[in-house]
Amino acid sequence: MNATDFQAVLPLLVLAIGATVLMLQIAWVRNPGLTAALAALVMALSALSCRLAAEVAPTEVTPLLQADRYSLLFATLFGFAGAITALLSRDYVSLHGDEPEEFFLLLVLATMGASVLAYAIHVASLLLGLELLSVSLYALIAYPNKSILPLEAAAKYLVLSGAASATALFGFALLYAATGALGFTEIGQGLTVTTTGQSVLLPAAVMVFAGLAFKLSLVPFHLWTPDVYDGAPAPVTGFLASVAKGAVFVVLLRLFLDADLFRYRILVEITGLLAIFSMLAGNLLALLQTNIKRMLAYSSIAHMGYLMIVFMVSLSGDSQALAVEAASYYLIAYTATTIAAFGLLTLISTDASGRENVQLQQVSGLFWRQPLLACLMLVALLSLAGIPLTAGFIAKFYLVNAAVSGHNWILLFTLVIGSSIGIYYYLRVVYYMTRRPEEHRVEQKIISAWRGRILSGVLIATILLLGIAPQPLMHYLKAILH
């Protein structure tokens, strides 16, 4: 490890040191505001430090971590996402927990896990990142100790996620047995020369994929998703839906790219199959949901399905670069939108009881009660639905371009069908929000969380910016990924 290496992993170091500092600070004085600010600062710093790290990229720091533009891009994304989540949850956790400071510590750790995953090029780093992320999330989900639903959600997530990790690890073990390698690239090389167990190879890869597919809540590994999303505190759900999934997706894509698993057509076709399942089932499940959180959970299944299209696209070498670019844009747009949506949901739904069971009824007439919040929510929903002028549309446009260049017609048509179904449930929320005062009887007090509002506003502005003037980001992505 030399100075360059340290510079390359600076974002991780910032997070690690920041976590330590946070711990000290909490031990020293308990002040949720301070902790939240500090945590946000740490994560934002980590994101910003990626610029420094970029100067030395690409660098391989030990066989475990690879600091290149790809990993740094996502480390930045996760850092900012974590920081915003911290700020968004500031008011929320104070309301729901007795000692909220550790929440932010856990958040920093989770972000660190995600960033490690962005860097990971080795089974060990993958394992560490994944578990750092997951274990922190268990605690984060269960954090509001006043109610039992988060508890149930955390328990379910823990057991199932643990099983999924075990499955993925078992798969890696088999791959290791077959190839003798743990680094992604080496595994790929090992696969070409291995003589033993071609028969074990693909099942092993399938197990790895299944384990990670669980984390991405692809159908048929999706059953946990709505329950956990529903039970978890809304800001955590946002984090879970965006960062946790994004990180796993990033590492999965890295694995496929580095180990060149695209050679195995059947494996890629399985990803395509799951993409189709997810697009259809996710949208269908969300169709008649009256609980907005669950609806968003199901829709996240669908979104992961859309995202999985890039694997099939990457089958043809020509389109691979575009596919990765599309996936990156999609992840960025999706992260911003999801966090914004859940952040707004937090603001809309918060009441003292703890369970934020966000039924459609509760947003009824929001447009007239809270015009600003409702407008922001409208933009977030439209972005999720992929309506033009939002980031979500450009993201989908990217995907369509990639898929067209790769001639993946079946996936494209599924995308169209899925999006069409999606319109219904997103618009239903809009419809409820615009119901006239005389048409509903809900009068809900909304806490005035100015931080949340400002942050949501910023996020929405980002979404619109990415939707209206996407060229800089496109340009950047093209530059770093080609």
Partner: protein
């Protein structure tokens, strides 16, 4: 720049109208009226007359009155590219005029959040103007989709009893078909990049691509679906009666008067010129759908008891003529189709305004509960009569010129199809007169009192009447404006025709002299 300013004017005007609500609840209407009026004046005044003369000269096809191109997403070869020719100008003027009508129609009807209402109205107009101007396919799609949202809100917030269903149906139909179009656009752009090595979404770059017939066919179908859903053509029309019926008056006016025309415009501007061969091949099916729409819409219009629903189905019937005209693909029919777009826009807008006025006064759209209204409201009755006979195609009014030209053009290509479509003239008479009978004739209800049209409403009505008369008696200016576009379309068809005739000459001569 004129074009961008026009769209910005409408967008900004919407915002202004929204904000104006805080000052005074009546202010938004005036703001909206002013903004649309200014836009219209702006559009007409900034147009150099000598250029207008140029554009009407059919010897200069593709002569654009105004153009604007700003790079937007070079990554995909997407530019903010607007351009206006005679056809666009025609439709823009129609849009803005009907915008004025829509604002007038909503004058006293909307009491709930009038500012936001007018804002949505103006934003819809902006979106539609964008659709008529965009020359980048991506941009076109963007406007195409974006105009849905304010329209959706108009229906969902200010609509009638079943608004949520109607608004949702409208949105999903358009959106689902729109996504297919997006798919087709992207495919087309990538096909273009294969030829030129450069990804571009510009209309001008994609025009005249030589495509693999199968690709062209499917891509064309994507466009066609999106446009025929909007048009709407049988059997994709079922969103229309619901949306039109449930929308507030101004919404119905905009929907019927303008939004439907975006579909026709799309076919005319994009679907046919981009895929001439595939369109030619597809023409029989398209014309079949057109005829089916003409008859089916008319039969169902007759079956309705809801005033607005009747008018909505009559739109289905009339827009069937547009489809027929476009795919009959000769000068006469094409001019007829354009004419129908304009004339139907005006006549249906008027009928919807009338329906809205009736609903506002009687709190019902059920014609079973009307009857004899002529007695209470002779002016409304007279207006209704005028537009009813316009809609059944009375010569001397715009709709007749349109339908006659369409059928005349169609007859040269497919006499039998024209004969079947001509049945639509009879069925149109049946439902139009039935509507008059149920609403305005018959025994008046003595208890009912109902104010007649006031000056504001009469002004709008009179303007539309004059427009229809003008279109019916001296349609030449409209025809001239559309001529260059249609000439270029015709030019596309000619080589194909020759190819076809070569084929048919090779085959043993058959068929009658028809």
């Amino acid at each position: 720049m004129t074009l961008a300013v026009l769209i910005l004017l409408l967008l900004g005007g919407g915002l202004l109208a929204w904000l104006a609500e805080r000052t005074h609840p009546n202010l938004p209407r005036w703001v909206a009226l002013g903004v649309v009026g200014i836009s219209l004046l702006f559009l007409l005044l900034t147009l150099p007359p000598e250029q207008l003369a140029l554009a009407t000269d059919p010897r200069h096809p593709g002569n654009w009155l105004a153009q604007l191109k700003i790079d937007w997403m070079p990554r995909f070869g997407i530019a903010f590219e607007l351009a206006m020719d005679g056809l666009s100008l025609l439709l823009l003027v129609l849009t803005l005029l009907l915008g004025l009508v829509a604002i007038t129609a909503s004058w006293s009807e909307i009491t709930f959040k009038p500012g936001l209402f007018q804002a949505n109205l103006l934003w819809t107009l902006a979106g539609v103007c964008g659709v008529f101007l965009a020359m980048d396919l991506f941009l076109f799609f963007l406007f195409w989709e974006v105009m849905l949202i304010p329209m959706y809100l108009l229906i969902a917030i200010w609509g009638h009893e079943n608004k949520s269903y109607a608004a949702m149906k409208f949105f999903i139909f358009t959106q689902a078909s729109g996504l297919l179009m997006l798919l087709a656009i992207v495919v087309l752009a990538w096909q273009g990049s294969r030829v030129s090595g450069q990804l571009s979404f510009s209309y001008f770059d994609l025009l005249g691509l030589s495509l693999d017939p199968r690709v062209a066919w499917w891509t064309m179908l994507g466009f066609f679906l999106a446009f025929t859903v909007k048009l709407p053509a049988f059997p994709f029309h079922t969103w229309l009666p619901d949306a039109h019926t449930q929308a507030p008056t101004a919404g119905s006016v905009l929907l019927a008067g303008i939004l439907l025309k975006t579909g026709a415009y799309g076919l005319l501007r994009f679907c046919i010129p981009l895929f001439p061969e595939a369109s030619m091949e597809f023409a029989p099916i398209a014309m079949g759908l057109g005829v089916a729409g003409v008859i089916y819409g008319a039969v169902l219009a007759f079956a309705q008891s809801d005033f607005k629903r009747l008018v909505a189905y009559s739109s289905v019937s009339h827009m069937g003529f547009v489809l027929l005209g476009l795919y009959a693909w000769n000068q006469l029919a094409l001019q007829g189709a354009v004419m129908q777009m304009v004339a139907h826009g005006v006549s249906t807008a008027a009928l919807f305004m009338l329906a809205g006025a009736l609903q506002h006064r009687l709190h019902t759209r059920d014609m079973g509960r009307m009857g004899g209204l002529w007695h209470q409201a002779p002016r409304m009755g007279a207006c209704a009569m005028f537009f009813a006979v316009a809609s059944l195609g009375l010569p001397g009014l715009g709709n007749f010129v349109a339908e006659f030209l369409v059928l005349l053009g169609l007859f040269a290509v497919h006499p039998w199809l024209a004969a079947i479509a001509a049945v639509g003239l009879i069925t149109a008479a049946i439902y139009s007169l039935w509507m008059m009978q149920q609403a305005f004739q018959g025994t008046p209800d003595k208890q009912r009192t109902m104010p007649d049209f006031d000056g504001r409403e009469m002004t709008a009505m009179a303007a539309m009447m004059i427009a229809l008369l003008w279109l019916g008696l001296y349609p030449q200016p409209v025809l001239d404006l559309a001529q260059p576009v249609l000439d270029s379309l015709q030019a596309l068809a000619t080589p194909l025709d020759q190819a076809h005739s070569l084929v048919s000459k090779a085959a043993p001569a058959a068929g009658s002299g028809l």
